[in-house]
Amino acid sequence: MSNLISNLRSLNVLVLHPRDSDADDLVQQLNRIGCPVEAIWPLPDSLPPAVDVVFAEVKEAIPPGLSKLFSPRPDQRPTLIGLIGYENPSVLGGLLDLGVQTVITKPFRAFGVLSALMMARHAWLERLEALRNEEKLRTKLEHINIITEAKFIVMRHHKINEKEAYKVIRSHAMSRRCSTIEIANAIINADGLLSKLVVDPKDGRD
């Protein structure tokens, strides 16, 4: 994680906040920290390319122009930090709706911006990592189901046990230079096709 600390200066930062002394203070502190910073107001139609972190003002009502800037897909949205002047339930709800990683409260002080920036990025990276793992596990689970189904088909057809069935699938995969999952899918498709051909008795009579 110390990598995160030494790479903070490579983060492209965008500040979405009305141009006032609060925004100036924040932008100046981000400059001191050494991040490339851009401040845009009023809200743009889309995010500039390659933005890593967005500091956005969050008020009691989130303008549609703000939420539409951020993709619902976590891997396609930047790290978000909310800038708030109130902490009543409407503003708190706004923070949740927008999905910020952390919050900075007004009036801004220089002290705390660096920690907020780092922890928000850390939370964002962890979330991304968790999603990637979740995706990997989901795929793996699907593969296990497919291979199990294929194994049962092979067992039924050849009257062999599960271990042997798996061996058959794997050796086929190896000789054809493809993955076990491709062979398993081929077996399931073929079995579906064959069972359809056999099951319809009218076909034979006519």
Partner: protein, 389 residues
Amino acid sequence: MIDTGDTWKLGVLFSETGPTAIIESLQQRGALLAIKEINAAGGVAGRALEPVLCDPGSDPQRYGLLAEKMISEDCVRVLIGCYMSSARKEVLPVVERRNVLFFYPTLYEGFEYSPNVIYGGACPNQNSVPLASYLLENYGNRFYFIGSDYIYPRESNRVMRNILRQGGGEVVGEVYVPFEAGPEEFARILRDVAEKAPDAIFCTTVGETTVQLYRAYHAAGHDGRRVPIASLTTNEAEIATVGAQVGVGHITAAPWFNTLDTPASRRFCANYQREFGPDIQVTSCAEAAYFQTHMFAAALDKVGSLDPDQLRECLLGASWDAPQGQVKIDPDNNHTYLHSRIARVDERGDFIVQREVIRPVKPDPYLVTPDLNDRRLRLRKAMPKARTS
């Protein structure tokens, strides 16, 4: 907070007692000398500067309490003071809450900005890289770290380790000495140093601990001319205390040394010793307190008021011809462009400047890892003038 006097008050918050008094009493004198010079020249806008003195006794919490007291009881609106970061951290919330301008004339570990503070000492990007490149070039690549046990040494060591690694250096040992460490603690550390046989020691101890360390190092048979102790803080006063025999060969990086032979530097040394006696050593921290007090007075002269916001506006971007050379307050971060010099202690106990950075170095307090090959930090051989006559 209504100022009713016919003087301009400046709160001076340095310890005259306790473990860091050895350094802070010199900083206090630096500020007092500047005040004396300003008043001798007629004061500011016809009014004299009046120092308000307090002794926090090297106890961090007392700095905060005394700052509060000077502001509320003595109507002070501008302060100069503090050496250790732990003390500054106590004063910071006070000066922010009461909107008081605070001059901090000490090197520190960076990663701070407050609109109420003007930082006059070096942050790591200004002194660590020059020291590291000098050591790598002249002594070797095996280093041993010895520091006092608080935030500044730990953060300095983190920075130094990163810089040394870029140049192929290696840290063979790292220890932190408590302030109350006794002789057996130093003996144990120095046995380990002897065993690891580094090419140089990087030392971030402060105050009395530094004096004890240098003495113990010499007593254990180590020779600074062969394997030096290199430091960002060890100064003329500490070397004078341990003596030339113990001090010879050791190395310090700082913006200013008392052997610097320029008119401004000579004048500063002469006035300092005339004021406080020839036995008193002048140090770079005293120099920082001195030039910061002068810069404050110059701003006060322009603004004609102790209003912290007006003074800050005037100070940001201001330059001054300090004993170390031209310095300038960086309007981006309230820190100061400073010179960077490397000096070695000679047989007489004087710091002789060996190398210096050509131009004052821009402060970058939020730099995580300074770059060893940063061309703005290239060293040149010291001008022959920068020697003692």
